[in-house]
Amino acid sequence: MSPAGLAWRSLCGQPARAVLGVAGIAVVGALLFDMLLLSRGLVVSFRDILEGAGFDVRVTATDAPPLLGPPLRDVEKLTAAVRALHEVRDAVPLRTGRAEAIAADGSVLEVELFGSGAREGVGWTVLEGEGLNPSGDLPVVVNRRLAARLALAPGSKLRLRGTCQASSAVPPVELTVQGVVAFPFDAASGLTAMTSFAGFLQVCAGEEADLAELLLVASRREAGAEGAVAAIRRARPDLNTFSNEQLLNRLQRTDFSYFRQISFVLSSITLFFAFLLVTTLLTVSVNQRLGELAVLRALGVRRRRIAAGLLCESALLVGAGGLLALPAGALLALGLDRILRAMPDLPEKLHFFVFEPRAVLLHVALVALTGVLAALYPVYLVVRLPIAATLRREVVS
């Protein structure tokens, strides 16, 4: 009988212990798998959103987080200069504000308002109608929630009153809905509208013109994002230019760092727990079978073979538990993701737990390593087993 066969029989001989051991490892392994998903989940998800928006470079006035720092000035000239760069395919200025959408019955809804320069329509999914066409008469596109709340459709009118300056009371402006779109960074409960720059200045009357919080840039394929960043930095070294990758690295170091660290801490704890569980199970199992093991040695079975049997036992426990951990972890990840996505103002498309094949490979490798390490002490016990003394003790006991 091979060491694997002996190990299997040994586990089957104690089914309750084996099943509980596998269950414990599966639960702990599920948590480990989830922490591996969490360690890069936000970055992967955010990267998908950024890339889906259609722009791979962004420009702000300072290194404050996008939309939170001072605005860019002389935006029209800046946009033209950036567009003229060989490495750049498109540049679109974006400014942000807040407005009240006035319903037919006079009630108001707080709305996030964006003013966008002319763009080729990338960055969102058109659900109804068309994208923002600045040449239209005070055009606006809205997200699905706002459209549903105010029963808007392409062609409808939307009355917006800017609340960009707290000290001003501006009259509402009527805009024409050109489309219903899914904005990439829309929060789950957010109401969003986007109009042209001209429309924004009308809605938020009194706001300084020729400003933007952000310049969105799409690079040419041959230059790539890094080429476009370098070109813009040469042209305007006074501004803060960064690619999607650079933004992600920064977020990973700052805003996402809590989740990265908690995933590291919990991964370490779960690995240690699994190690402890398997070591304890195997050690107790060995201690209970010392007589058997001594007899095997007395019969001439080599230490190596018995050690191989123990390693196989560990591999079976950890292997079965580790495999079950994957679907269990996937289910758990769905639940944990749902809990975390309840945080306010998160983009609806952002996920904390994102499946990556890398995470599965890492999970398998870590679980396998744990299984090997956990078997070391029981193997040590077996290798050092004094045969005669053990036999004598077994007879006496």
Partner: protein
């Protein structure tokens, strides 16, 4: 004397310059800003709201303070300065806006009875149209970031308890198997199942209580290390982990019954068998 201090959260330009004629007004800066920019008490710095540094004004650093830890701004660099309100207005006011010198971002109000906050806010909004009055203690609608994080941590804790329970049960089953012969002999000589279970219960209670207390003590000891690490990592004085009496009580209240139950379940699987089966090798 200045009436109260305002906080300028974001400095657009900061420079250390030699002392200007006439004493410049004093400001406080955060420890983090002082360390990063190499500032000391008595230094004169220039502050400007323009990214190009235009219209900068000199200020003297009168003190360095530790900013109030804000968990919502955990990862933000706390580069802040506190100015006297007239200085702040002088620095930030828009010269084109005649009302600018009379404008502030917010007014903090401390009521005689904090319970009146919501009603006070509503009345104020009704009397002054356009004003927004918000109680600082907001009702918990379950969506605040820390409420969500608490739920997340609770979910993790539950999963950990589940894994630990499986672990515990397997150990208890092994312990019960070890005692199979002893239990068989006790049953053989007439000791009742009830008596044996009671013994298991007492033993389980002692072990589970000792284990739970050890666990709580271990958490209490490591609390300091965890806090120190994250305080160093985020350069903050926030407390991240605190083992309170309530938490300790909840842990013991969960661990002890689990331990006792695991022992009873494992022993019952043994006691269910007949005496002959227990004594058979």
């Amino acid at each position: 004397m200045p009436s109260f201090l305002a906080t300028l959260p974001l400095l657009s330009a900061l420079a250390v310059t030699p002392a200007a004629t006439g004493a410049p007004p004093s400001i406080l800066v955060t420890r983090q800003l002082a360390e990063t920019a190499g500032l000391n008490v008595g230094d004169v710095v220039s502050l400007s709201c323009d990214p190009s540094g235009a219209a900068a004004r000199p200020f003297r650093i009168a003190g360095i303070y530790e900013p109030t830890p804000d968990p919502m701004r955990l990862v933000a660099k706390r580069f802040e300065a506190r100015l006297h309100l007239p200085d702040m207005i002088g620095l930030t006011a828009d010269p084109r806006d005649p009302l600018s010198p009379e404008s502030v971002t917010a007014i903090n109000v401390a009521l005689r009875d904090p319970a009146d906050a919501a009603a006070f806010g509503r009345e104020l909004e009704a009397r002054v149209p356009g004003l927004v009055a918000v109680p600082t203690a907001r009702p918990d609608d379950g969506s605040g970031p820390f409420v969500v994080l608490e739920r997340f941590h609770l979910a993790i804790a539950l999963v950990t308890v589940l894994g630990s329970t499986a672990f515990l049960l397997s150990l208890m089953v092994m312990r019960a198997e070890e005692r199979k012969e002893t239990v068989g002999i006790l049953r053989l000589i007439g000791v009742s199942r009830r008596h044996i279970l009671l013994e298991v219960l007492v033993e389980g209670l002692l072990i589970a209580t000792a284990g739970a207390i050890f666990g709580v003590l271990f958490a209490w000891v490591t609390e300091g290390a965890v806090n120190r690490f994250f305080q160093w990592r985020y350069d903050t004085s926030l407390v991240f982990v605190r083992v309170t009496a309530g938490i300790a009580g909840r842990c013991v209240a969960l661990a002890v019954p689990l331990g006792v139950l695991a022992g009873l379940v494992a022993s019952w699987t043994l006691l269910r068998r007949d005496v002959v089966a227990l004594l058979r090798r």
